[in-house]
Amino acid sequence: MKVLVCVKRVVDYNVRIRVKPDGGGVVTDGVKMAMNPFDEIAVEEALRMREAGHVSEVVAVTIGDKKSQEQLRTALAMGADRAIWVEHEEAIQPLGVARVLKALAEREQPGLVLLGKQAIDDDCGQTAQMLAALWQRPQATYASEVVISGETVRVTREVDAGLEVIDVDLPAVISTDLRLNEPRYVKLPDIMKAKRKPMDSYTLPDLGVELPPLVERLETTPPPARTGGFKVESVEELVATLKEKGLV
């Protein structure tokens, strides 16, 4: 079985995000970029499936500008077998990404598509669900455990009420949550091997997909600066203050 793992280039989670002075998005120039952490977990899970013998090939895919190839290289260095780069300069939105992924899924015929539950830049958390709908395959989102058995996969999902366990038929779409695994380190010999692994590239016309922006961003503003705290004298005062502020 082949697994398609989707990765996105985002601002590194350690970076303090700054809004551009004109409010047109956040500053990315000269800022450290990295693979979306949830996607790293997805890559790791795919590799573990391959190591356990359930999967024969792990294919990493990204949609983005030339620089996003770096994140594919990271996925290859972690151990993915090959990569697909879909060239696209402009910003991307969940439905557009889902359309591209559907086109790739039809070409590649994977048994499983793994994605992060959300990307830490826009925090949309929609791509996996949209892909499953377009591709007309089952979905299991927010996975914290994934067990493959034959033609089905048992997924433990982290939902508001606790943990939900579901079985889905393969091929399926799974989105990964934080506690699914701890991604491996990139080893130096693997970094060097990654250089020689194949990377195919497509343009949107190649895939017959158009990505007209469906959402218009009006403005980006930084969150209000945190105001300093203050001390209360007693438990009674604390409770009274919390009530006054409508917090309890």
């Binding site: 303090r16 190839q69 130096l188 060097m192 300093g228």
Partner: protein
């Protein structure tokens, strides 16, 4: 000219960010406080294939150059987790064995070293020969089919944890050579051999490694323990002193960046009068100036590594890198400490503790004065005063 790092080089540079997720500055400091060797972190680095960056693949290494070694070391320091043991082993000893060792020596040492099963330290300095290396008196005298090594080394990093030492020794006494740099040979010495003794030096710089005096009392060596051409040890030495300066420069820039990162975060948050203290130019400008100097030094460091890898003369760039990076690192850490006010001196914030290491690297492995001597005499052609 191309200043872009390849994807591979970027991953190598970012390795420290990854490693720091598991072995962070706090882990480093815990070990540094007691000079405990950070075995777990070292083994992880070994498992990830970074000990033998500069060793050919056929001997278990990665077959890359000093440029990549420098990126790797700077990446660790960017995260506040530098290791001097990687200077003496991975930067100095391993590449030297790979370059000058016999096939037998390479087979015997390199695969184990790359896997982290054994370690090397590098012994040059003596009580009477620090800046003035040709005054070394440790000597290996012919005895039967082999040699007997006797003498004393000092400040040897990691000599307790290391299995072997690369020892710079005379094989002809100073009085019998015409040029003071003649008559040196490098020996691969087993530190478990009879006649080797050591005593710890009380070093007050927080770091996981410790420094030792090494005593050699008629330690038995064979011809096969000599590295490279007999009597020409001094020439070989320069193939390792420049790399040492270059990676030490990388450590300085990285630590400076780490301190700056911490200071910027604090200065954006801390409010004393109105608004964050980072807006005060009294604090902001020293940080900005340090940033500029660090990046300039870092660029010079990469240039020096590039020169070395391309067999170009490396002395000028290596010395310039070490000078500017150590100065910039000290300036950056000092400016950072200042932002923290009193908190800068507490264990909770752990900022002051960055200072001793960058300050050490102004003196060792080669002092600021000796670097300026080099630039004054060798680069500018000025007369020598000593």
């Amino acid at each position: 000219m191309d200043f872009d790092l390849s994807e591979e080089q970027q991953l190598i540079y970012q390795y420290g960010d990854q490693l720091a997720q598991r072995f962070d500055r706090k882990y480093w400091m815990e070990n540094a406080a007691t000079h405990r060797f950070p075995t777990e972190m070292f083994q992880q680095i070994a498992d990830d294939g970074f000990l033998g960056v500069m060793v050919p693949e056929s001997y278990g290494g990665a077959g890359l150059g000093l440029f990549e070694m420098t990126l790797f070391m700077e990446g660790l320091a960017n995260n506040g987790i530098p290791l001097l043991s990687l200077v003496v082993s991975s930067t100095m000893s391993l590449p030297l064995i790979a370059r000058y060792g016999t096939e037998e020596q390479k087979q015997r040492y390199l695969p184990d070293l790359c896997a982290g099963r054994t370690k090397f330290c590098f012994a040059i300095t003596e009580p009477g020969a620090g800046s003035n290396t040709p005054e070394i008196t440790t000597i290996a005298r012919k005895s039967g089919a082999g040699y007997l090594l006797s003498g004393q080394k000092t400040f040897i990093t990691d000599a307790n944890d290391a299995d072997f030492a690369l020892v710079v020794t005379r094989t002809t006494p100073r009085s019998e050579v015409t040029r003071k740099t003649d008559g040196f040979t490098l020996f691969l010495v087993d530190l478990k051999a009879p006649g080797v003794d050591r005593a710890e030096i009380d070093i007050r710089v927080p770091m996981p490694e410790s420094q030792w005096q090494l005593f050699f009392d008629d330690v038995q060596l064979t011809e096969a323990d000599a590295l490279g051409e007999f009597g020409r040890g001094f020439d070989i030495l320069f193939d390792t002193l420049n790399p040492e300066r270059i990676v030490v420069a990388a450590i300085c820039s990285g630590l400076g960046r780490y301190a700056l990162g911490r200071a910027v975060e604090y200065a954006c948050e801390r409010e004393v009068f109105s608004g964050p203290i980072g807006a005060y130019q009294g604090l902001q400008h020293p940080l900005a100036e340090s940033k500029a100097l660090l990046e300039a030094a870092s660029l010079m460091t990469l240039k020096a590594a590039w020169c070395f890898d391309h067999n170009r003369p490396t002395g000028e760039a290596a010395n310039t890198a070490k000078l500017t990076a150590a100065d910039a690192g000290i300036k950056a850490v000092d400016a950072s400490i200042q932002c923290f006010g009193g908190n800068g001196f507490t264990g909770d914030y752990g900022i002051y503790e960055i200072y001793p290491m960058v300050r050490l690297l102004k003196t060792a492995p080669v002092s600021r004065e000796m670097i300026l001597n080099y630039i004054g005499e060798k680069v500018l052609g000025l007369p020598r005063s000593y």
